[in-house]
């Protein structure tokens, strides 16, 4: 029998249109609202020279060897209660095969205040570890050789202080700063835009960021001085394209600020790193990661004239999406996280945090934290996806979606530029409104069942069985308060006062503040005292609340 070849594409189109369509009212656009075709073919493939991994513009990855050379770093964000308890968790995670540390601080630490401040009440040790002074940091890393591991610290307004504490602990272990590896989040712009943990106004905030970048370029050269973050922008409700655009715009704002300081681009750009969300819309996320690398490479080479290839390469950490997790049937979060983690890996992430199933309810238990880590190990060692470099490269759909992500980001860059740049756009509440609009629209779509969250607005059960969650012992609050007061009592008061006076002068002048902060830290000045000293010079920032 002979089958005559039809005009295949046209025939498919007719067959498709002639087939019954699902009429469940559920959107077929991406979770960010990008309309999708039912099928992509060679006609959708962009016409451009073949791209290869390790080659400009790095769409297919920054390493020529992908994960064949080295797997991503499995870096679980962790911290709760006291430094002592968190130290135990770190040792547990390292013993279970985790390859890097990532510190979660509690709210008072993130907001630069000591545990005995009145507004710290009820917040101590709840969403991270409480760190008040170098003494707590010594406990946190007790028995963990800082010369052998890398550590990520998620902290922003007081970032410089925590980095100085880390440097001081390493000194005590006999490890010079030049050998330290890790990442400081230190991304104040996304705080103004999304996460809202700002303290100082934008200008002095940016000065502190540039001070730390400048200092590390000389003294801590292997340290990623900043982790320019889309994660919080996405979690606050943005679309994937907004996350991509706002994050890269922030990155360029930091580059501009460092250039204004007089630094040479290739002296600091290789140490800028990024941090993205991996949401549940699988292909959209992969496209986002690929587009991010391409855009950054082009801007760094073409607009900023960076010469070093290392400056062109966008390296990023990924965390699976906290907002995609559900309190309902929480075990399903294991499956969600696996899908999201797979997207991050197929997008070529350098490091990854997988959320635990109970993180929508509380901080993870030992058991749920281990399942989250095991999920990454399963992807790395069982699934086989790490064997081929950028396995989705050349996919009609992925390539078309990567281009669409890039196009949408460029539209936003233009709008931000028209507003005068990132800081004026923050002051005009541009990002904040864009994000709130997207968040509201998504919630509406959920309420109208045009989007489904399994277990929330469909496939629900009546007999939810509560899972075991981690509880923070309320007694620890009093203990931490006592600890910080003891540090203040026991330290060399003269040295501490002198250090804080020196810092105040530096803040009022134009010296790089890092050496002064380091001296204050070594003198056991508390985080709250150091912040207060800078607030006296810089003042604080209040945002205009927009709904």
């Amino acid at each position: 029998m002979k089958v005559r070849a039809r005009d295949t594409k046209q025939a498919w189109k007719e067959d498709f249109e002639g087939s019954p369509a699902r009429d469940d009212g559920i959107e077929t656009s991406t979770i960010s609202g990008i309309p999708l075709q039912p099928l992509y073919t060679a006609d959708d493939l962009p016409r451009r020279p073949e791209e290869l991994p390790g080659q400009f513009p790095y769409t297919r990855g920054i390493h020529p060897s992908g994960y064949r050379g080295r797997l991503w770093t499995m870096r679980q964000f962790s911290g709760f209660a006291t430094a002592e308890e968190t130290n135990r968790r770190y040792k547990y995670l390292l013993a279970n095969g985790q390859t890097g540390l990532s510190v979660a601080f509690d709210m008072p630490t993130l907001m630069g205040q000591d545990s005995d401040a009145p507004t710290s009440r009820g917040e101590i040790g709840h969403c991270g570890v409480a760190i008040d002074s170098l003494a707590d940091m010594e406990t946190l890393f007790d028995g963990i050789p800082l010369g052998d591991i890398t550590t990520s610290m998620t902290i922003n307004s007081p970032a410089a202080i925590l980095l100085c504490m880390y440097i001081a602990v390493a000194e005590e272990q006999g490890v010079p700063a030049s050998r330290l590896g890790g990442t400081l989040q230190n991304d104040i712009l996304k705080e103004f835009i999304a996460q809202k943990e700002f303290i100082f106004p934008p200008a002095p905030s940016m000065r502190l960021v540039v001070d730390s970048i400048e200092y590390c370029a000389k003294e801590v050269p292997q340290w990623n001085t900043i982790s320019i973050s889309g994660y919080h922008i996405r979690e606050a409700g943005s679309t994937a394209a907004q996350e991509l655009a706002f994050t890269l715009a922030d990155g360029m704002a930091y580059v501009d600020a460092c250039l204004e300081r007089g630094m040479r681009i290739d002296d600091f750009a290789p140490r800028l790193s990024f941090f993205f969300d991996a949401h549940i819309d699988f292909f959209e996320e992969i496209a986002k990661f690929r587009a991010a690398r391409r855009i950054w490479a082009r801007w760094m080479r073409e607009r900023y004239g960076a010469q070093s290839e290392r400056s062109w390469k966008l390296r990023f950490h990924t965390q699976t999406a906290g907002v995609s997790l559900t309190a309902q049937q929480p075990e399903l979060n294991i499956a969600r996280t696996a899908i999201e983690a797979l997207a991050a890996v197929l997008g070529g992430t350098q490091s990854l945090h997988t959320n635990a199933m109970d993180e929508v309810l509380a901080l993870p238990t030992d058991k749920s934290a281990r399942i989250a880590l095991r999920t990454q190990q399963l992807i790395a060692y069982e699934s086989g996806v790490a064997n081929t470099i950028d396995p989705l490269g050349g996919s009609y759909f992925i390539e078309a979606l990567t281009d669409e992500m890039e196009r949408q980001a460029e539209v936003y860059f233009k709008r931000i530029e028209d507003l005068g740049g990132v800081i004026p756009a923050i002051e005009a509440s541009f990002f904040q409104k864009e994000i709130a609009d997207s968040a509201f629209q998504y919630q509406r779509e959920l309420d109208q069942k045009r989007r489904i969250m399994v277990g929330v607005n469909d496939f629900t059960v009546d007999d939810e069985v509560p899972i075991e969650i981690l509880r923070i012992d309320p007694r620890l609050e009093a203990e931490q308060v006592a600890r910080v007061r003891e540090v203040r009592r026991k330290r060399d008061q003269a040295r501490c006062s002198k250090a804080l006076t020196g810092l105040r002068k530096a803040a009022a002048g134009s010296d790089n503040m890092m050496p002064y902060i380091l001296e204050a830290v070594r003198a056991y000045a508390t985080e709250g005292e150091i912040m207060k000293t800078m607030i006296e010079v810089f003042g604080t920032y209040t945002e205009q609340a927009v709904v």
């Binding site: 709210m107 559900t326 709130a436």
Partner: protein, 138 residues
């Protein structure tokens, strides 16, 4: 406007505590506004005293609290206590955020009337308010 018209229910929505996660509070504020309520959003990092001050100044009947830092067991009851201290217990307090089931029971005993947890449809919050304030047009 008819002479019997009553003014719409006025609601203070507030972020208490140190965290800056304002996605939920903003989405809820918009939904309540769209449902016809008068909504005043206080912004971030409000102490219990500030929230009650705002409620009294604005003559609000309802306070909606949002928190994601885990400090709800300290700060929600503190708002109720402050209302008692200021003799304003007629103001209804409800809340939302990452709040485990066990805590919900305790908070209700302490005077927080209703708690909404992640995944709550906006309409459910509106429906609860309509039921709680039936005399009011919305």
């Amino acid at each position: 406007m008819s002479p019997t018209a009553v003014r719409p229910v006025r609601i203070i929505v507030a972020k208490v505590g140190l965290d800056g996660h304002d996605r939920g509070v903003k989405v809820v504020a918009r939904a309540l506004r769209d449902a016809g309520y008068e909504v005043i959003y206080t912004g971030l990092r409000q102490t219990p005293e500030m929230v009650v001050d705002a409620a009294l100044q604005e003559d609000a009947q309802v306070i909606g609290l949002s928190i994601h830092s885990g400090a709800h067991m300290t700060l929600f009851p503190a708002v109720v206590q402050e209302l008692k201290r200021r003799k304003a217990t007629d103001i209804v307090v409800f809340g939302g955020g990452i709040i485990p089931d066990d805590d919900i029971a305790t908070l209700k005993k302490q005077g927080v009337e209703k708690l909404f947890t992640p995944g709550t449809p906006l309409q459910e919050i509106v429906d609860w308010l309509r039921q709680r304030f039936p005399a009011e047009p919305a």
